[in-house]
Amino acid sequence: MPVLVGAVLAVALGILAHRYRPLRTSILNLTSWFLTIPSLAFFALLIPVVGIGDTAPIIAMTFYALLPIVRNTVAGLTSVDQAIVEAAKGMGMGARARLIKIELPNAWPVILAGIRVATLLIIGITAIAALVGGGGLGQEIYSRGINRIPSPGSLEAILGGTGIIVLLAVIVDTIYLGIGRLTIPRGLRD
């Protein structure tokens, strides 16, 4: 969920940052600034606003997802060969058609890589979400594991939870490989 919202928002921001140079540094700075807030502190900051529960982590994670995606969107669009942009322009393709038909498809592999990194980042952070009452695997590690050390079964819970997170990351990575296969035009793959 956060990834999806983050991705849509981030690609939009990335396009904006690419189009309007003056905005570029501020957008990039802002998104990297989010990432420097420790996740715990970020959750804590959001709790007074949205209360304890799923909402705070989801909002926070959306923000975390922004940086890698925005950055890769900008990088992807910038790396599109200027010659093909000029060719498109020279044939009378308008700015919007150029963006949708030429620039985004050619930047897509890089953008997708950003989304993948964002997802993995978020899976890692998810673990911590439990602290503030969000559910998920973090709960397994935290409440049944760390909290209950040294009671019996606590270590198993920690390892099991961690193991599952790692497994999840591997599975997600594989899924992205598949998405890449499906969505990256054949002419761009090598």
Binding site: D81, A83, I84, E86, A87, A88, K89, G90, M91, G92, M93, G94, A97, I102, P105, N106, P185, R186, G187, L188, D190
Partner: protein, 392 residues
């Protein structure tokens, strides 16, 4: 319908943040159906001048008139769909297939699918690529030369009357470049487009241009004339330096064999004649050698008097005929054939191999001399009428 397709009127471009114009007050008439080549040293403003025509670069001042219509302020996207555009880097879209690349402008113009598909196949055919093989390939699956062909096909897709080409054959190996140039000239014979062609290579300019604009800094035309005039009557020292040494040799590339008087009364004999007849022919003539032709009048051997001393069949006497050229070949080609074949003459044959005549070094030298005189006469005559036009 006027004879001028593109009128450039006092076009000036001053890039933001610079004081000196990249192009200053460029005024030029580009005739309908001709290839006009912009040539000049690096940084003189060729690309800037070209890109102002389709307003990829907006002029700072001045006007562009296309086929009688002032297009300086019309919608640039609409304008560009009427002007084919080929750039040095080709710029094929890597994420879509060749067919879709070629279909770019038809799609923008909203052609129906059937018409677009037919046109794509037709164009691939025209540029020498089998549609069934290449239509569904991706650009990365093509060689550099093939990609450049697709670039030309794409530019021609909606049959625009005007084509702009910025160093279209620049990034290609010399052999492929020569082939593409020749193919393109043949294509242009049929299409009769108005073409503005940018290069920094004077040889390419001479080969491709119906007219050449040699540009100095800020795109100021040092001379705007036919290749012949530029080679034989350079307007000033700049042009002379730019054309460089070997202007005469370059002229050889301009002149085709069919344009000059070849020797068509030279001594020939037929393989059907017997040895004695051939010998008598040779003795009675002023020629030192006889060219033996086969039943289809194709040259096979050179026979000289001493060759008749050996007791050999006629078709094994003398030396094999070498250095064949066809009438559309240039004098430069003929000279090269002579050098390669170590022959004193080149033999002109038609496409079926039938003998037409011969060509020796003297013929070549004479024709150059003749052209030089004619051109100089023409130049002087024009100068009397309107000095400004010639020197500009």
């Amino acid at each position: 319908m006027t004879d001028t397709m593109i009128e450039l009127r006092e076009l000036t471009k001053i890039y933001p943040g610079t004081d000196i114009p990249a192009v200053e007050s460029l005024t030029m008439d580009i005739p309908r159906g001709e290839i006009v080549v912009f040539v000049g040293p690096s940084g003189c403003g060729k690309t800037t001048s070209l890109k102002m025509i389709n307003r990829i670069i907006e002029p700072s001042s001045g006007h562009i008139v296309l086929d009688g219509e002032d297009v300086t302020n019309v919608d640039p996207d609409q304008l560009r769909r009427r002007i084919g555009y080929v750039i040095q880097q080709i710029g094929l879209f890597p994420h879509i297939r060749i067919g879709d690349n070629v279909a770019t402008v038809p799609n923008l113009l909203g052609w129906d699918k059937e018409r677009t598909r037919a046109r794509v196949d037709e164009l691939l055919d025209i540029v020498g690529l089998d549609p069934d093989i290449y239509r569904s390939r991706f650009p990365k699956e093509l060689s550099g030369g093939q990609r450049q062909r697709v670039g030309v096909a794409r530019a021609l897709a909606a049959d625009p009357p005007v084509l702009l080409m910025d160093e279209p054959f620049g990034a290609i190996d010399p052999i492929t470049r020569t082939r593409l140039q020749n193919e393109f000239l043949r294509l242009q014979d049929e299409l009769q487009k108005t073409i503005v062609f940018v290069t920094h290579d004077i040889d390419e300019a001479i080969k491709m241009g119906d007219r050449i604009a040699i540009l100095e800094q800020k795109s100021i035309p040092a001379q705007f004339a036919t290749p012949e005039e530029i080679l034989t009557a350079p307007a000033n020292e700049f042009v002379e330096d730019f054309v460089g040494a070997g202007a005469t040799l370059k002229r050889l590339k301009l002149t085709r064999i069919r344009e000059i008087d070849i020797i068509d009364d030279c001594l020939t004999g037929s393989i059907t004649e017997d040895k004695h007849t051939l010998r008598r022919k040779l003795d009675e003539s002023d020629w030192t050698a006889l060219l033996l032709l086969d039943e289809q009048h194709r040259p096979i051997r050179w026979l000289r008097a001493p060759d008749f001393r050996h007791d050999r069949p006629v078709d094994q006497m003398g030396l094999p005929a070498v250095a064949f050229v066809e009438p559309h070949a240039t004098l430069s080609d003929a000279l090269e054939e002579m050098l390669i074949g170590s022959a004193g003459v080149a033999i002109v044959i038609d496409s079926r191999g039938t003998f037409q005549g011969i060509l020796d070094i003297d013929t070549i030298i004479n024709s150059i001399q003749l052209m030089r005189d004619e051109s100089a006469e023409f130049y002087r005559a024009e100068k009397l009428i309107d000095p400004a036009e010639v020197v500009s």
